[in-house]
């Protein structure tokens, strides 16, 4: 028997009891205007199945929509292209009713076939989507991955406005997955017409459409006047200028030429900006779903010894490390960041205690310490942070030599297990979606510990893995609290085994020009990273 939810509002109320149900737009918001945003790196692609970069993530969010979406500036789910949905009692079948009258930028109405096509496309190996793995719980995914099927068995078009998705296992994160960029709905005819260049000629249902793209220089987004959400977007157009050094972007912002520097305030200029009240006033601070950590490879000595790992945890002076980045972070006690559901309030982890760390180390048989290597990405401030870690380790007799390498080389050394310790800065985990499970599987679970995986500690605890699986099978929104408790237990369980030193949770600091309007939370949106373009506006 299926439990039919009268409306999505009820569903959301069940899932997120204390949360506001939708976004109340700013009453002062005025439509019109053009803003300029800068980025250092080029935009590689706007194909939602492929794009996975800092700069294109929120651009893609503005051009495309998925079945689910988030309340702007928050981590709360709300329906997107789905008007409503129902979940079967066993949590294995999701039936989505599509919103009628939604049009692609090419004028055609979006129908259920488009959703099926889009999910097939993203999971097809030929697409080479970095997000394919997120859809692993859909029935028929394995056959897609090994090439024996070309369409997902579990996705059925019931009628032009209804899609049924069957899962092979209960997955409490499934609605979040449907809100990922990778699950965006794309029109088949436009994808086929563009061939391999769809990423440069995107067509979606989103608030903006691509107007102009001069490779390596600029992109212009234009307002989608037919956007299905009433009242938004406010802006007529957005100009993205790429290839701009953050320091120069800041100078241009001060000169009134740029509205938002997409890469934030450069570390070298932070103190100067904050010291000037006129500028500091326009700085926006927000949490982000980020944790910076040190991994210790538990498969090789001496880090196969629990006491050694605990000693390292106690040796690190996290407070001092946050000072290196101008205090733009808060010390971390556990893998999850504080704004993530499932975070364990009041958990202290391993407080800084050099004496106790020394004692633990000598108990473990390393009274004289040992020599090891600390891998780090070679861009500022990471080598400086690595030096602080090195000093802290030397306090308890551990001599760590720093291997400062390009990002790809550190990732390789972490993936193949040759790095004893890694400082995650510059490569650290920022959640794909606001759910505690996203911090486990690839970086702390057994699956990620395989050769080439992102679990650089190579930590694999079968009991914790089982508990994580159990938590994610609690798909019933009524049991959300119970599920979060399980996740909290998983992460405190991880900390007992101490494969990581969670060091800090970075806060995001960005800036906007004086004319930019809209709630501050839109400029540090935890999901539409870095800016939620659909809801910001200009005041002049």
């Amino acid at each position: 028997m299926k439990r039919l939810l009268a409306s999505t509002a009820v569903m959301l109320a069940l899932a997120l009891p204390a949360a506001a149900q939708d976004y109340t737009p700013d009453p002062n918001a005025k439509p019109g205007g053009t803003i300029t945003i800068t980025y250092k790196d080029d935009v590689a692609t706007l194909d939602p199945a492929i794009g996975y970069d800092w700069q294109n993530w929120s651009m893609i969010k503005s051009i495309f929509d998925g079945l689910m979406d988030y309340v702007p500036g928050t981590t709360q789910l709300r329906p997107g292209l789905a008007e409503s949905y129902e979940i079967s009692e066993d949590g294995l079948t999701y039936t989505f009713k599509l919103r009628p009258g939604v049009k692609f930028h090419n004028g055609r109405e979006m129908v259920a076939e488009d959703l099926k096509y889009s999910l097939d496309r993203v999971t097809l190996p030929a697409t080479q989507s970095p997000g394919a793995g997120f859809f692993g719980s859909i029935k028929g995914f394995d056959a897609m991955a090994d090439g024996s099927a070309t369409t997902l068995e579990g996705v059925t078009v019931v009628d032009p406005s209804t899609v049924r998705i069957e899962l092979s296992r209960p997955d409490a994160t499934f609605l979040h997955v449907m809100a990922l960029n990778f699950a965006s709905v794309v029109p088949k005819e436009a994808v086929e017409a563009a061939g391999a260049d769809f990423g440069k000629q995107p067509v979606g249902t989103g608030a903006f459409k691509l107007g102009e793209w001069t490779l390596g220089q600029r992109l212009v987004f234009e307002k989608n006047a037919d956007y299905w959400r009433a009242g938004v977007p406010y802006l007529d157009s957005i100009v993205f200028e790429v290839g701009q050094e953050p320091i120069v972007a800041l100078l241009r912002l001060q000169n009134g030429e740029v509205d938002v520097p997409g890469d934030g305030i450069p570390p070298a200029k932070f103190t100067e900006v904050m010291a000037d009240p006129a500028q500091a006033e326009r700085v926006v601070e927000g949490g982000q779903l980020h944790t910076g950590y040190i991994t210790m490879n538990v498969t090789q000595p001496p880090f196969d010894n629990l006491q050694v790992r605990q000693a390292v945890n106690m040796a690190i002076n996290k407070q001092r490390i946050t000072q290196i980045i101008n205090g733009r972070a808060i010390p971390a006690t556990q893998p999850l960041p504080p704004s993530m559901p499932g975070y364990t309030e009041g958990y202290e982890g391993y407080p800084h205690d050099v004496e106790k760390a020394k004692a633990l180390l000598s108990e473990a048989g390393f009274a004289d310490g040992f020599e090891t290597e600390l891998y780090v990405m070679n861009t500022d401030p990471n080598p400086r942070i690595a030096q602080a870690i090195q000093q802290d380790l030397s306090q308890i007799g551990i001599k760590a030599s720093i291997q400062s390498l390009a990002q790809a080389n550190v990732i390789e050394a972490g993936g193949n297990g040759s790095a004893p310790m890694i400082w995650s800065g510059g490569m650290a985990w920022i959640a794909d979606f606001p759910d505690p499970s996203n911090f486990y599987g690839p970086i702390l679970g057994c699956a990620g510990a395989a050769d080439g995986g992102w679990n650089w500690s190579k930590f694999c605890d079968e009991a914790l893995d089982a508990k994580a699986t159990e938590a994610d099978s609690l798909a019933d929104p009524a049991r959300a609290e119970e599920r979060l408790k399980l996740w909290s237990d998983v992460y405190t369980g991880v900390m007992e085994k101490a494969p990581w030193v969670p060091v800090f949770n970075e806060q995001r600091y960005t800036m906007k020009s004086a004319r930019m309007g809209g709630d501050d939370s839109l400029y540090v949106d935890p999901v539409s990273i870095p800016v939620n373009y659909d809801y910001v506006f200009v005041t002049e």
Binding site: D42, Q128, A145, V248, L251
Partner: protein, 306 residues
Amino acid sequence: MPAYLLRRLFQSALILLGVSLVTFILLYVLPADPVRQIAGRSATPQVVENIRRQLGLDQPFLVQYGRYLWGLLQGDFGRSYLQKTDVATLIAARLPATLQLMGGAILCELVLGLTMGIVAALRRGRALDQGLMIVSFVAVSAPQFVVSLLLLYVFAVKLGWFPIGGYGTLSHLVLPAVTLGILGSGWYSRMMRSSMIDVLRQDYIRTARAKGLTRGRVILRHALPNAILPIVAMIGIDIGIFMGGIVVVESVFGWPGIGQLAWQAIQRIDIPIIMGVTMVSACAIVLGNLLADLVTPFIDPRIKLK
């Protein structure tokens, strides 16, 4: 002459083949996996292997290199792993900006460098000479990043004479070209100075002076054309360097040149782009040198190409 050209072109082809082989080997042995960059952090091992097979990166080195070379011979630079766009398109999009900056920079280098070099040579050993050589020494050793930012801050932000970075009009070109001009002028002025001093010592200069020609005429008609030969060779090399991209100056001024493309590709190990830029730049160096050599007989008729 045609035989000379043919031989040089053949040599150039061999050099380019060597460059492609060495770069390909370096990228092959690099301890970093391009497939993991494409597959991302959430990919399963199966996804990683699928991508590796599709890109042919599971093949032995010789097969991979052979395929690349075969494509290259047909004018196919391959497709970017991450941008999923033809490398030729990406490079072509950056060419106008690169050529513009190259032209502007070489012009500034020549104007500044030759003036300094000639004046220093004529005032050899005096205070002006020593002063100019200190200036050229500073120019040679100044970090690009500092000079770029300094000029940008003073002339764009404070004085507002030029736009703060960007590309498009002539006024956008001035600051990046002058930055490169100042930095490069150090080399040119030193080369010009020593070459000029050598020439001024020659007998024919003394003869010219003895004939009663004016000092200005001796310098412009007799000394300069002979002293400038090494400079022509330097320009040939410079063309190649600029075609490879000037990463720092391009990023500070937001100049959409080839350097930015290459730098971003290197960070993400986008092999087709790295190879493409390397080949284009190597081609430019080889052709620049060839061009410089071909021009020489016109400046100095004593030189014959054999």
